[in-house]
């Protein structure tokens, strides 16, 4: 479960002055459902998700993740979150096994537990053949699988995906989408940010449209279509953004 209340993040930038990257965002993501955060580049998706993963402190507002407050219980929040972003890379000089084991240890798991979980994940993700090779020699598909195993080693209740298919080829992107669905089926709370309409259509149970740091529309795909009188999500999106810009 994720609950965000009035999350705001302001950056001070020398050239641009104050940037309201996230501006009063409130929403609720529930277990066994995928919450989609849809927005263009610079809309504030990454900043929002980083606040939920406690990588950034909210300027104002609060959020709880898996029942823990992001501001005051950051460590517990991180222990219950799996965070996967295009920007979360692997240690190139470690092997996949070393990488996953390292994150198991950082999550406080014992050696036997790590071994057992790693074996299961490697089978599920079909990683056995490259488990003992160094990550810098991996294809994008192998990297992505290793990253997924890294986020899952501590079996988090909440999964946060920040544009995880960015820059991936079609097949790898598809396997990610399949994996996100699996997380939902296991009853995890999933939040998924993207700017790709088709991914939202395929995956998300609830959609939040974010623009200029503000959450300007929220609902299921059917609700949004009905409200704006368009079938094509892209058209819906453009209408929402256009209405927001007129304010």
């Amino acid at each position: 479960m994720i609950e965000a209340h009035n999350l705001t993040k302001t950056f001070k930038d020398k050239k641009r002055g104050q940037i309201h990257a996230v501006d009063g965002v409130s929403f609720r993501a529930e277990p066994g459902r995928i919450y989609g955060l849809l927005g263009a580049n610079g809309a504030g998706k990454t900043t929002t998700l980083r606040m939920l993963a406690t990588l950034l402190q909210p300027t104002t507002g609060t959020a709880t993740v898996a029942g823990f407050d992001v501001a005051t219980q950051a460590q517990q929040v991180r222990a219950h979150v799996g965070f996967l972003a295009a920007s979360t890379a692997l240690y190139g000089r470690l092997t996949a096994r070393e990488m996953i084991t390292y994150f198991g240890k950082l999550n406080g798991l014992g050696n036997a537990e790590i071994k057992a979980r790693l074996a299961r994940l490697a089978t599920e993700l079909d990683m056995h053949e490259f488990l003992d090779r160094r990550c810098d020699k991996f294809s994008t598909g192998m990297k992505q699988k290793t990253s997924i195993a890294r986020t899952l080693i501590h079996d988090p209740a909440v999964m946060i995906f920040d544009e995880p298919t960015l820059g991936l080829d079609v097949m790898t992107a598809r396997s990610i989408v399949r994996f996100v669905r699996e997380c939902r089926n296991q009853g995890k709370t999933v939040i998924y940010s993207t700017h790709v309409m088709s991914e939202v259509e395929k995956l998300c149970d609830t959609i939040g449209v974010i623009h200029g740091g503000k959450l300007c529309a929220e609902g299921t795909l059917a609700e949004l279509r009905a409200k704006h009188g368009e079938q094509d999500l892209e058209e819906v999106f453009v209408k929402i953004i256009g209405a927001e810009d007129q304010k």
Binding site: A53, L55, Q75, T88, Y91, G92, L106, N107
Partner: protein
Amino acid sequence: MNGNNILTVYVKELRDSLRDRRTLMSVIIIPAIVMPLLFFGVTKVMTTVMSRAQEEIPSVAILGGSDSPGIVSALKQSAKLRIVSAPVDWKQAISDKKLRAAVEIPDGFEAGLKVGSAPEVRIYNYSGELKSDFAARTVERFLTDLREQTVSDRLAERGLAKTMARPFEFQRQNVAPPEKVGGNLFGGIVPYVIIILCFSGAMYPAMDLTAGEKERGTMETLLCSPVARVDIVLGKFLMVLTGSLGAICITLFSMGLTATVGGSFLMGGGRFAVKAGAAAATAKARGVAMPTIDPLGLIGVLAMVIPVAVLFAAIAFTVALFAKSYKEAQSYLAPMMIVVILPAVIGILPGIELDTKLALVPLLNLSLVCKEMLSGVWHWNYIALIFASSCVYAAAALSLAVKMFNREDVIFRA
């Protein structure tokens, strides 16, 4: 703070760094070869140059002297000089190193000698040029001997004792221990090299573990883990410190090895300070300063370097943390290298001695105290003061590193 987590981070960083070629270069390979190179290089060059200059019999031209056959023939008979006929442009010949020096016997020299007012003899040489200076000194010694001979001949003529003109003798004797003799020359360079290697040993791991991680995108991955930030900083910091201390230990080890092997190899039996006395003395007698190192001094240096290594590790870590890429980090840390070298260079300058004020100046104090310890001098009150002040600086730098790591505008700098 959680010791287990710190250890987990440290072990991972150590393993990771051992697979990084740049770190291996700066922490192991360079420190291992720089000391032997310096030792063999400097000593070998010095020895060859000195002995070649001394063994050479300098060519000297006599200018004038046609009416003073006595001194001219004495010069020609001297085994230490090779008298050549003066070329027309003898000054140019000295500049061109075809001629080492020239000696001018003025007209009427021997005639003047008889009546008691001889004109001045002049020696011409190219000052600052080693071999030319040697030639001039040889001529000087020859003339001094000739003058003394003249005096004692005259005394004998008048039936007077030699002691009339030389009522007493004197002699200069060295009281500095042989370590000090070698220590001052070599001991001046050693702290300098140690400070540089200590910094460069910290520099590469620091860049790799901070800016490098940001650049490769692994920093965000790491920060997603539930480990407290302070544990991550300390684990990483320990790795940087390992780099710094590793470089120092390898340097000192290779220096000790070189001094042992090299000493006996080059000088015929100049072990450590214990046996170095005789060797140093003979070396000194030949005009060559033999580097000898007190092994206790090496241990002292190592102990003094530890807080400075902590300081360097924390500073390099903090500075590199600001950078977004390895390149950017390099552009911050490379100029810092100069800042670091400066106090070390001042420490080498002759005449700068430790006092209470200088003992509080970071790096300069290390450079000065290392020089002393390597030459067998132990000023315990300064040593304590320097160690304590270094620890204070190191602690301040480390707490700054932790503070910076907790700042999101440093870690996620746009």
